[in-house]
Structures are given as C-alpha cells and as structure tokens.
C-alpha cells in the first residue's frame, strides 16, 4: 500500500503537470480537489486516463469518481480492490 501510494504521487505529478510539487508535498489523505491540492475537472479526466494507462482499470461508473479520487489513499484502495489479476 505504501509503495503504491508513493508510485501514485509520482504518476499524478507527471500526468497533471504539477511541476511545482514533489511527491512528499502530497499527503496520503490530503484532499486532491478544491481546497486541497486544487485539482479541477480536467484533472479528474486525466486521473481516469492514468488509472487506465498504468493499472489497466476502467472506471465502471464515473459517478464514483468523487469518492475514488478523494485522496491518494482512496485511489490506492480502489486500485487494490479493482486491479485485474
């Protein structure tokens, strides 16, 4: 889980062009949207692409996005629960 979250932080910075941040700047439970990291709706789409590209996971129901993309930890938990075997 810890390694997965560390990988995710690097991938999020790369995919979303967050060049002003380092992985250690992103807390495991920090909110990613609005008052947290300040991500927007286009970033949410990029996160969906990231899941597909790196983990071969297609978001079955986009309505679940806000819960899944709440923080790095919730994304990691979703990946662990849904990663193809």
């Amino acid at each position: 889980m810890e390694q997965l979250m560390a990988d995710l932080k690097k991938q999020i910075i790369e995919a979303l062009n967050l060049k002003h941040l380092k992985p250690e700047d992103i807390g495991d439970d920090q909110a990613l949207f609005v008052e947290g990291l300040g991500l927007d709706s286009i970033d949410a789409l990029e996160l969906i692409v990231l899941l597909q590209q790196h983990y071969n996971i297609k978001l079955a129901n986009p309505q679940d996005g806000p819960q899944i993309f709440k923080s790095v930890r919730t994304i990691a938990e979703y990946i662990q629960a849904n990663k193809p075997s």
């Binding site: 979303l16 062009n17 967050l18 060049k19 002003h20 300040g38 286009i42 970033d43 789409l45 990029e46 692409v49 597909q52 590209q53």
Partner: protein, 212 residues
C-alpha cells in the same frame, strides 16, 4: 480620442524583452524548459502555468511583462479592459501533440487547448479581464489589422485599455509581441498608436527608441 502604446513586450529566440530591455534569455535545455524557467525568472508563482500549452504560456509570459503582476491593470474595471490576440498557426502546435496521444490514450488536458483562443482565456483568468476579446488567425503579423481592430474596440466608451498583439508558436518556433493601448491623455509619454509604430516595435525586437 488619441490612443497610446504605453507598454510592450517581445518573446523571440528564447529571449524575453520588456520595454526594449532583455529580462530573461535561455538557450540551454528544451523549449519547454525555457518557458518554465522564464516564469521563475519573472518571479511568478502560478501553478496553473505548468498545465498550459505553449501558446498559452507565451501569451501569459508576454502579458506578465506588460502589466507587472496585474498592477498596471488594477486601475481599470475588469469589463473595461479588452484583449485582442492574433497568430498564424492557430492551435496547431497543440493539435499535433493531442493527435499523437489519440494513438494510445487521448489526453483531456491537451484537448482543452486545441483552440486558438484559449490563450485569451488564460490571460483573462489571470488578470480578471472581462472586456471585449477577439482572436484572429492571419497569414502573418499584420500591424494594420491589429491597429484597426484595436482602434475600433477602443472607440467604444466602455473600453479604457486593451492588451493586444501577436502570440504564435509551432514546435520551438515562437514569436510574441504584446502591447498595452490606453487613452493617451493620461499617458503623455506613450508611443503613438499607429500601424507604423506597431510594425517598428515588432521588427525592432521591442527595442525601438522612437518615442512620440
């Protein structure tokens, strides 16, 4: 009412020029590195900059040099500032990069920049500009057309100032010339707003000394 060019900036050959003075140059590294380093050189913290495409970054940097971190425009109501930008390559630089991503996984972040007028949106968001705006795609820099359109926009009582100019990029080839037009009576040292003056500023790398 007479109009004056009160500020101007130029970005060409990886060099940022403000009012004729070089403020940053960066020959080393990639063109994208140059753009990101230019932001740091101007001492600006604006995380969204890194998400922008090259055209938006160039327009952003050129405008920052014009308005000094919004201070110059702070005297105007947002709806009284206009923005007129032209270029030759529309959004082709980003269109090509977006097309490449469609071969694997189309990038939403690139897709949103596949319009030539997005640069205007980014500048408006940064500086709170809410006035008239227009984006033209022209074969080449056309001082007369820019002059005529800006003159028309400034003829309305509503518009008090206009950021205008040329923001063109394709690959590493870039050419930016932006200027601020204001009603001249309050700016006695302003350059005359004429097509000839614009052409001169554009051609002379922003270092023209012919003040009116």
């Amino acid at each position: 009412m007479a109009l004056g060019i009160t500020r101007y900036s130029r970005i060409k050959d990886r060099t940022l020029v403000r009012q004729g003075e070089v403020v940053h140059t960066g020959a080393d590294g990639s063109f994208d590195d140059f753009l990101d380093n230019a932001l740091k050189a101007l001492n600006i913290a604006y995380p969204k900059f890194y998400k922008m495409d090259r055209a938006a970054k160039l327009g952003f940097l050129g405008t920052e040099m014009l308005v000094n971190n919004t201070a110059v425009l702070s005297g105007y109501e947002p709806a009284r500032v206009a923005l007129v930008v032209a270029n030759a390559h529309a959004s082709l630089d980003t269109d090509i990069r977006y097309f490449e991503t469609t071969k694997t996984m189309a990038s939403p972040a690139l897709f949103v920049y596949t319009l030539p007028n997005i640069v205007i949106g980014e500048i408006c968001i940064r500086h709170g500009i809410k006035g008239e705006n227009a984006c033209f795609v022209l074969p080449a820099f056309d001082a007369q057309q820019l002059h005529d359109y800006v003159t028309m926009v400034m003829a309305t009582e509503k518009t008090q100032a206009c950021v205008a100019g040329w923001v063109d990029v394709l690959g590493d080839q870039h050419d930016v010339f932006l200027y601020l037009v204001e009603k001249k009576q309050q700016h006695i040292n302003a350059l005359e707003h004429t097509a000839e003056q614009l052409q001169k500023l554009y051609e002379h790398y922003g270092t023209v000394d012919g003040r009116s």
